[in-house]
Subunit: 251 residues, 3 copies
């Protein structure tokens, strides 16, 4: 901190197991990645190379090195896993994990129909190569799941070896956990929290109103994901109760 | 590509005549332009210096050099042409084309009232100095043209020497081709495509939903314009059927 | 300007007392700050390090130096003042002003309840250390003030030593001066302008429609604030009547 302010809530320090921030990189250049970690290295734990951008982005190895040197774990979006699976190229996906030395990998079924037992078997297999983050919830807003269904899927995926569950929102924050307007499905969140430890979940929350909602509900050290690179400092002030929306949280 | 994925649709290669991407620069610095081409050079064909930003942006020559060195054609937004015409300075506009060695120039009437025959004469004149891209459709959402009118204007402009037609949307994607909500005027698009070869048209599509619409309708190699610099990698994955919205297009 | 256009309205030159542009920095890196001034130095007068971002952003001194070297005055958002006051650390706030050699400081009550006489006493005290910019209007959209109230607060703050008044909008442009939709409260603006000289007010106007509204109402040289760093060139063209929205203002 640049100067002293009393009564600022304590944030967990890196390497964190709780209070995680996952930022979404949807095609930054190497220099833009350097800019991001120049301000955000202390405040971000993971960087997701969104969906399949890792397939086409130039200078991928150089970018991964920038993130790693700053102590930020890179991983590839779950849509990449799905793109391999739907092409019967799952083994090639494992080769990609090895080729880029990825310590984390995402398993999801947001864009493909995958029997849940099969998804859990994929989690088990990927877990032999990397720490698995698995995503629950469809990218299709017409496929709304009841809360009990979310919970049973989450439990099964934890049992299969998932390290952290990601609750789907897309980059735009309007599916899965959220209504089309971006509003949080509060009943769904409450039921999930009643059954699953909150530290096991990374809530995708790209919109400020969604970040504020979860910080009010769970506290400064909630796990949040799909954060816009430009918002990393803003989010940290929100976590600390130092922005209008959360100003009275901790005082 | 960084690794192998089967059954990814083939994209045209540079120099492209179809499957063009035109990105909108609304005031990038030289270094930001370098960042853009570092990730996007292979995926973008044109960069439009939006409306009249070329008039005031510092280090204009340096920025143009960055784009040219990366094999991306820069040109100035049509509003600049209109700003010269409304001041009776059309000859000075031709001097600007020469001064900056521009190979492409945009002719439009989005902000001024110009009899269409006069617009076509301007197209003929500009075509003696640069390859002309001409824009059809008003920036004023209260001026809605019937489809037959769009088509007759487009045909006349092609006859006058236009190389590619641009269908207006503004930077915000809510006029011309689109309703105020950003939704595509589908009937209009269908009628245009019935009369004008799609490769002759660059569809301004700044919003993701608009890009997805045209990729579904016309395919990976549709010409798209007014793309945000931050979205160049994202758009390319969408063209390739590797993002949720188009995931099942090509499989 | 890069070439000659006739009949472009005259803009005030730096150091300006009117026609001011204040840009919002919500966590730029040092290099991103360099990029901003590379295009914007001539067009921006102030840079606000939004709310409390100055508390946590790395390399703060280096960033302040970049702005100062470009002739742009940096200052810290009013929420930082409030964060000190609510903790009974007002003297420490004055130390921060001294430590960073700030020539300007913002006093506000957007997130805390402060009797207005007390706010004015703070203005008097801060004015002994820096030129005061004070902000009127709540960040809470449920607290709507009548126009006569805005005016009496503004007059009292000018009397207490405020150099410029800022009319609140937040970063999102949907409170204070604006309805939740972002639309301007026009009656409020008219009544304020009837009583307070417009050059004394910086209108926070983060959305393009808001910028256009005030340029139409007051002219090219209106004072505007909370401008997005990416929009500095765009705003300047709008001021000059060289963008669709203001194209016919000056011709």
């Amino acid at each position: 901190m640049n100067f002293e302010l009393d009564n600022v809530p304590e944030r967990t320090k890196k390497p964190r197991t709780n209070g995680l921030t996952m930022v979404m990189d949807k095609g930054l250049s190497v220099r833009q990645a350097e800019d991001l970690v120049a301000v955000g290295a202390d405040y971000m734990d993971f960087i997701k190379l969104g969906w399949t951008t890792a397939y086409i982005v130039p200078q991928l190895n150089e970018k991964l090195a920038v993130y790693r040197d700053a102590g930020v774990h890179p991983y590839f979006g779950g849509t990449l896993f799905e793109a391999f699976v739907i092409r019967n190229q799952f083994d090639d996906f494992l080769r990609v994990i090895e080729k880029y030395g990825l310590e984390y990998a995402e398993v999801s079924d947001g864009s493909i129909a995958l029997p849940h037992e099969e998804k859990c078997r994929y989690i088990e297999k990927v877990a032999q190569y990397a720490t698995v983050i698995s995503e629950v919830g469809s990218k299709d807003n017409t496929k709304i799941m009841a809360p009990y269904k979310w919970i049973s899927l989450m439990k099964a995926e934890l049992e299969a070896g998932t390290w952290r569950l990601i609750a789907e929102s897309r980059e735009s924050g309007n599916v899965g956990l959220y209504r089309e307007s971006g509003e949080v499905r509060q009943g769904l969140v409450d039921e999930i929290l009643n059954e699953i430890p909150s530290e096991k979940i990374i809530w995708e929350a790209p919109l400020k109103s969604q970040q504020v909602y979860f910080i009010h509900l769970i506290g400064s050290n909630v796990n949040l994901g799909n954060i816009n690179p430009n918002e990393i400092i803003a989010l940290e002030t929100t976590r600390l109760g130092l922005r209008g929306d959360t100003f009275h949280n901790f005082i």
